[in-house]
Point group: C2
Chain length 343, copies 2
DNA sequence: TTGTAGGCGTTATCAT
DNA sequence: ATGATAACGCCTACAA
């Protein structure tokens, strides 16, 4: 069917190993240049393409990485955050000449079913784009010999390789930016799930403390259900019912999607952003620029995250005894239209 | 390193072929049930996992599909439309027990470089998520023996397998819906690129004709540059400068991203959606629900598109002589907040 | 400088 | 009912 090494060898009148050597580019000096040229020519003419599968079998490595999307969500890529992370990993993989398999799972599928695909030799290593719970693939993965790295995670487990951003510092920087704009009543709106909400809230609180602004407990709302806009609407409405001199002038949200809902809720109660109130997000996913007003937010270095994760997989491949590493990358404060000086 | 078939066979005291047969589940009746049970047990204990690579080599098939993202865009997944299509393909592939490789490319990479990855046997077939231009991989792909299917495409080329939606009919339905709401002055805003703009515009025009509404040339704006909001802002401002009794009461956009920019532009000139003016999108990507007001739009059946594409690949695999098929799937009009009856 | 041959882990075709 | 063995296409010692 397809052109094989042997076909090229026969046609060029040399042995398979010669062709293999030449085409692998490994042994430049070993084979006579004119032979090399001829063989290359023949290979090209015949449209020869080495079989990745056969090569993988003998090399015991596929140059392919697996990217694991969260099994919890029906449609992870509908969340612009996961799209952004995936995009970053894909870009980084392409740059490094690696292929990428993307794994999703139906919420109904068992751990074993999922694992089957993840470690049957198709991938050299895995990049897990979420925080697996204990009863998820995590423990099994640790027992297997597949190197893997978690992104967007910061577990205490010392056996794990992770790449994450500085949630605490980022939120502190954002809060300080708002304080610098003259805001003194700042509320934090957070979803009720996500490993990152803890550090982000702490960052917010630290900034307040540092600037000597007393923390108003009414301004810390951390039980929002992200996929239920009505809870957000209620919370925002409650805040805005406060007397005008007690009402927050800035709302910090723990992610961009939430910020979008918040802005929408504000407009429903007749407030304009940023004229009446400032709003900020976190992540700088694709929705941040597109929404109106465009969002002041914290940009995650998605491609760097992907690159680090891939490199950490490679590190484990090169030396399986490497002790786990935890990387924490800096972010960037991106100022757009949703924030303005306090009046 | 890893547990092989032979290891299991040795431990269980049977031959490799027996184990293979048992574990493949192919021959239930051929091997003594008690042996089967024992072998299964041993395999489980040893944590045996068949090597996908070895299996692929002998079967000449990997059960893996390649999904090709557009090479033109720096970050295709930042576009919620591509995220949605990819999501649909991934879901459909998971349902069918297939793995998925996702290919991106740096805009600088050559066609040959890209092709190398696409047809080295790693994938059984390809799903191309964009409309490749002539000098892109298309012609090469046709010469190779890799089955492939284009989504979101509707070329005249009779050699191609495509899955697409009914652009014309969808836009006509949307236009008629607005007319049904009492709108009589409807403007169409379209980006200046995309194979789909032609049919979408035609659908709009047909609806007007059918309803006996004369087409006002000022209301057909098809030269917008999607990534440059300022052109959109200008166009919207120009429309809104018209005397109030000549000004459109509804704006149809050819995709959701554009609609988002349009809504933002409207708000800048002080108009509210949908109270003052109705706006519609197309695609129902993730931005449609999240934005405020949420968007009345045309929903593409992403998972069905993915499923059909995969099935068409399989069809070609089963019978390489199958004549090319072109599928055109229906869409759904999703009514949300951005439209209201004309006053 | 080039060729030969063994093996990668599995499946499938035969024998037994 | 089971087992030996030849592919699958490639890489790589080692031999020539």
């Amino acid at each position: 069917m397809a052109v094989r090494l042997k076909d090229v060898a026969d046609r060029a009148g040399v042995s398979v190993s010669a062709v293999s050597n030449i085409l692998s580019g490994y042994s430049k000096s070993r084979i006579k240049p004119e032979t090399q040229e001829r063989v290359r020519q023949v290979a090209l003419e015949m449209g020869y393409r080495p079989s990745a599968v056969a090569r993988a079998l003998v090399r015991r490595q596929t140059d392919t990485l697996g990217v694991v999307l969260p099994p919890t969500s029906q449609a992870p890529l509908r969340d612009p955050f996961f799209s952004a992370v995936l995009e970053g990993v894909l870009q980084a993989a392409t740059t490094r000449g690696r292929d990428t398999m993307v794994f999703t799972a139906h919420p109904t599928s068992s751990t074993q079913e999922r694992l089957g695909k993840l470690c049957d030799g198709r991938c050299d290593g895995l990049i897990v784009l979420y925080q697996p719970s204990e009863n998820d693939i995590l423990t099994e993965l640790l027992n297997l010999s597949v190197p893997f790295v978690l992104t967007s995670d910061w577990r205490e487990d010392p056996r794990l390789f992770c790449v994450d951003v500085e949630h605490h510092e980022s939120m502190r920087a954002m809060t300080e930016y708002l304080i610098g704009l003259g805001h003194r009543r700042l509320a934090l709106l957070s979803s009720n799930i996500g490993y990152y909400v803890g550090p982000r809230i702490a960052g917010y609180q630290e900034a307040l403390t540092r600037q000597g602004i007393p923390a108003d407990p009414r301004f810390l709302i951390s039980d929002l259900i992200p996929w239920d806009p009505s809870t957000v609407l209620r919370a925002v409405a409650a805040l805005m019912m406060l007397p005008i001199d007690q009402r927050p002038t800035a709302l910090l949200c723990t992610n961009d999607s939430l910020a979008a809902i918040v802005i929408s809720a504000l407009s429903r109660v007749g407030l304009r952003v940023p004229e009446d109130i400032s709003v900020t997000g976190f992540n700088d996913d694709s929705s941040a620029v597109r929404q109106h007003p465009s969002l002041t937010t914290i940009a995650q270095p998605y491609e760097t995250i992907g690159g680090c994760a891939i490199d950490l997989v490679q590190t484990q491949l090169d030396d399986p005894a490497t002790p786990p590493q935890r990387l924490r990358l800096p972010t960037k404060l991106v100022i757009r239209e949703s924030t303005a000086p306090a009046k």
